[in-house]
Structures are given as C-alpha cells and as structure tokens.
C-alpha cells in the first residue's frame, strides 16, 4: 500500500487521494481566507484517520497542501501528545495516572494492564489491537479513577474492571463506555477529531450525565427517581459501528444496572 518515498503523495492510493484531498479542502475552508495554516492541527488528525499515526508521508501531505516545509509540520506534529509516531492500535487505552486518579487506583490499574497486555507506555500489542498509555488529567476527576478507550470514558474503574475491559477488547468485543457514545475505532475517532461529524445517530443521542455530574442538583431537588423522568426508553445499542463491528455489546461489571 505504501511506498517508502516520503517526498511524494504516491503513498495515497488513488481512491484515498481524492478523498483526503477533498477533506483537507473542507478543513481549510473553515478558517478565514488566507489563514490556511490554522488547518494544520485538524489535518494531522485527518492523516491519523487514514493511517492510525502521523507518518512521514502524512507530514509531507500536510506540508504540500498548506505550503509549509516538512520541518515546519514535523515540529508541530512532534509537540502534541495525541499525534502518534508509530501505528496505533484499533483501541487506544489511556489510564489516567495524574494525582487524583493515580492515588484512587489509577496507578494500580495501569500496572495491571501493562502486565496483562505485555506492553509499556505508548506501545502496541503485537496483533496491532491495543495501544496502552498512561495519560495526564482527563478532566473527569469527579469520576476518578478513569480509563478512556479512544477517548471515551470508562468511569470509576478499579483493577478488576480495568482488566475486564482490556480482556473484552482483546476478545473482539466493544464494551459500552460509562458515559457518551459507543466505541468506534481509533481511525474513526481521529476523523471526528479532525472536525467531521460523527455519523452515528446513537452517538448523537448518547447521554453523558452520570451521578457525579448531577450530585449538586440532587442535593437541591432530591434524587431523580430510579425509574428516571426520561420519557424515552433506554437506548439499546444494536446498530453496528461504521466498520460493522458490534457496538456496546458488553456491559461493564456492575456498571450496567440502573
């Protein structure tokens, strides 16, 4: 699929080439005229949507499209944590080991996952399925300790649930995150981060409000009844994800009961 020559765009097979060029043009059009360099960060996410990391060819593509040197693009790509320098697994598992999550159990979860997966920080399992990383604060301290898979939240984890989560991913299942949308692949997620709408209706409809989010309101109004005031029946995640893998087919232990 790829040539080793990073100076040309030959690496992009014809059907991708027109597609990715079109998407890059859409990104550039979001910014004021003459300010195309603002498109660089989303375009780097876009290259990850195709390759799963920022390759030399991806850098060359951004440079050529935006009229920059490859050095200028590489300087940006290497600055930011989310741009991966090696192919990323289908699932990026991030364990928050910043202070709050770390002391509440995140450090233990991370140590257990390292052992289970046999990889260290920013490393991928030999089958290319899971990349593990310890992450800095993921802005969900009220749900600590948190783990994310392709940046979707798995809240209030412990070592046992963390191991179960990773085992499900190894087994080809897609556990339903505690809050937010059903999982998709790292590449699909990168496309969304590049600014292209998530096409899945169930993602748009996914609730993201857990007990800690409403803790204050519940003190004010009394607890929301267990049956929930919501008229809609609970969402049943039977729709396949974009790549036809089943979505949300596995509940987290102890997290699925309402």
């Amino acid at each position: 699929m790829k040539t080793q020559n990073a100076d040309t765009l030959d690496w992009y097979e014809p059907e991708f080439r027109s597609e990715i060029t079109g998407k890059a043009a859409e990104i550039i059009a979001r910014y004021p005229e003459g300010k195309s360099r603002s498109a660089l960060l989303p375009m780097l996410h876009l290259t990850q949507a195709y390759e799963g990391y920022v390759s030399a060819s991806g850098i060359a593509f951004c440079a050529e499209t935006l009229g920059l040197t490859k050095a200028e693009v590489a300087a940006v790509a290497t600055f930011y944590t989310m741009y991966k320098r090696r192919p990323t697994g289908e699932y990026l598992v991030s364990v928050c080991t910043n202070t709050m999550c770390g002391v509440l159990g995140g450090d233990e979860i991370y140590a257990a996952l390292k052992e289970q997966l046999g990889v260290g920080h920013d490393e991928t399992t030999p089958d290319g399925k899971i990349t593990l990383e310890h992450a800095e604060c993921l802005a969900a301290c009220d749900y600590a300790p948190v783990v994310t898979v392709n940046y979707e939240y798995f809240d209030q984890q412990d070592t046992e649930s963390g191991l179960k989560l990773a085992q499900d991913l190894i087994d080809g299942k897609r556990p339903q995150p505690t809050r937010g949308a059903p999982l998709c692949s790292f590449k699909e997620m990168s496309m969304q981060i590049a600014g292209f709408l998530d096409p899945r209706p169930e993602a748009r409809a996914a609730d993201a409000v857990g007990e800690p989010t409403l803790a204050g309101l519940h003190q004010k109004k009394g607890k929301r009844p267990v049956t929930s005031s919501k008229a809609e029946p609970p969402m049943v995640l039977t729709e396949p994800a974009l790549d036809k893998k089943p979505a949300g087919d596995t509940k987290m232990p102890g997290k699925g009961e309402k």
Partner: protein, 433 residues
Amino acid sequence: MTITPVLTKRWNLERSWELTTYERTDGYRALAKALRKHPDELIQLVKDSGLRGRGGAGFPTGMKWGFIPQNDGKPHYLVVNADEGEPGTCRDLPLMMADPHSLIEGIIIASFAVRANFAAIYIRGEAVHALRRLQYAAVEAREKGYLGKNILGSGFDLDLVVHSGAGAYICGEETALLDSLEGYRGQPRLKPPFPATHGLYASPTVVNNVGTLATVPHIVLNGPEWHKDLIANEASAKSPGTSIYSLSGRIKRPGQYEAPMGTTLRTLLELAGGMREGHTLKFWTPGGSSTPMFTDAHLDVPLDFDSVAAAGSMNGTSAVMIFDDSDCVVRCVMKWIEFYHHESCGKCTPCREGNYWMAQVLQRLEGGQGTEEDLQTLLDTCDNILGRSFCALGDGATSPVMSSMKYFRDEYIQHVRDGKCPFGNARVMAGAH
C-alpha cells in the same frame, strides 16, 4: 440558597443538549434581547454585573471586552478556551456535554458585543463527546438562524468553528492557545502586546473561558443586579456569580456543586456527604493543582477570588481536590510535578529544567533515597522558577511544592529518616512511570 443552579440548571433535563430543550427553557431569548441593544451597552452590562473570568485568573470580563479597540479597521475575533486540563478541573466538559447551546448563545452575544464575525471554540482534543455535542449544536443553531449571516434579522454575521487541540496542557494558556489555533506549536507569546490588540492572526481578540461565556445569557436576561447578588458571603462581593465547584477525591459524593461564590469547603463537604468513613481531611486544593494547597485550617475560607488570595492561595477553577489521612503528600506532589514536567512546553529554561529536576528529586524522596538537603534543593529550584518563567505554567508548578513544604515539612523529613514512604507507596509508584 446553597445549591444554586444557573449554569447547571438544564443538566438534569431530558435530552438537555438539544436545541428544542434549550429553547423551551429560555434558550436564545437573551440573544434576541442582546441583538436589540447597542454593543457598547452589552459591554457595560457585563461590566456592571461584576462577572470575572472563570478560567482561573478572575479577570473582569466586561473590562476585557472593553479593551478591544473599535473602528480600527481590523477583523475582531472571539476565541473560547475549552482546553480544560488543569488537574482537578472537570466542569467545562460536563457543561458542554449537557448544555452546549448555553455556550453557543454566550459566544454569539459576546461576539456581537466586541464586533467579531468569526469565533472559534478551542476544545481539548481528548474531549470527543463534548466535541460531538458542540458540532451538532452548531449545526442546529445555524439551521435556526442563530449562526451565519444576518442573525435573527439583525444584520450581524457570525461564523463559528469548533477546533480540536491535540493533547497539550499548555494550550490552556491563552497565547499558547492562539499559536496552536494558528497551526503552530502551542507555546506562550511574550506579553505585551496582549490578545486584546494582537491576538488571533495579530488582530484584536477576546479569549474567554467556557463558564464565563455560558453565564452571559443569564446576565442579559436577569440583569446585572441579579448577578451581583449571587454571593454566599459579604466578603465575596467583588467575585459575584455562581461557581461550579468540582469536588473530587476522598469524599462520599464527588461531583459538580454549583453554588454562589464564597461558599466554604465546610459547606461543600456537608453537601457532598463528608469525608469517607473513618478518615479525616488532610489537604485540598481550592482551584486545581496550580493553586497552593490548603489544610483543615482553611475550612471556613470563602471560596472566591479575593478571599482565597488573601488566605495565600488562588481560587483558580474551583477544582476542589480532597485528600485524607491515608494520602502521602510527597507522592501527590511528585505526581503533580511529573505532570508539569511532561507538559512544560520547553520554551523557557526555568520551567523546562526546573520541573525536570524537581521531578527527579521528588521521585528520590518518595522512594526513600532522599536527603534533608533535597528539601532545600526543591525550595531553591522553586525560587528559580517562580516569577522567572515565561508563563503561569512554571509559576503554577511551584505551588504544590512550596505549599506542601509549608504545611507538611515533617512528612518530607519522615521519608528521609525512615528511608521509605511511611504510607508504603513504593511498589505502586514503580509501576506508574
């Protein structure tokens, strides 16, 4: 009135994030009202309300808007800082997930006031569900004529872009954010000139936090006096409004508690059910890891910008991280400094090198290999960072070190004397980094 839902008032509603829900609960009424006013009237209104920026610094919002030069022939920009990443801070993401239209309405009103026709929300890259919410909300708002050309027939045009970052805490610093938004490495700029005159694309720019802008529609609808009265304590008169206090850690009910500025930790702890059973409060941060820690001696400090500053810390983002008697302060500080070391952008030497060395000294202390001399080395290093680094990231890194040394020096010394962590953390620590 302790729990006072203003920003959080829709979070419990069915499909709270949808336009129909928002419109049914006063949504976009403030916009219609604002567009009938002169922009300068809106700036004055926000000045009169006493609203101060919720991103941490507490700068008066109306004054910031007033700094934008008018009739200067340059395009103006509004940029939203949604790069939430300060350890402990977790209130902007829930807001954007539960009520994205409140932010968008605030953006439109603010843009109208400062005469900006292009606005950008810079959201941290990892915040994917909040990103979805904002993108769909922007589509809904555009379809309804709240965004785009000739908004509600007013003649005012506004384009809004939702722009994801790529994982860099430093981009929460407003000039680093602007560099990142322009497609560069996120490194802070020399100030002055300030963004008010030379911001995005070297043009006049307002950079506001999510919570700040989401408050604006409420002020437009209810008036400045209503906002000024939202205080828990007379001492808080210069920091009016509600704050979403984000409580995390060793308490019974962690979560988001919106209350008037000046609410004390004692009150917040009552709301959150208190400390977990059998443990006592040891140390806590009033506003994130960059704000000097407090202890149980500070339970009655009104949590507002001025009162917290008077007590020797900063209100920051009301990110209240709570630790108890089972937590080792050296381990916590070590992990925070590992964070600052990882996130230092490398532009200035004091922050880049200082955090590099402090992380190693703290790892040594926590591992039981430290010396009493190390304590002085840490304080000396802080001296070389604080006030000497390019931006607030470096200054913030010194907060946990210096404040923990102030209140818990004996615990550091115990690590040295015992040759190990008295809390038995060595094994766990080895696994993490």
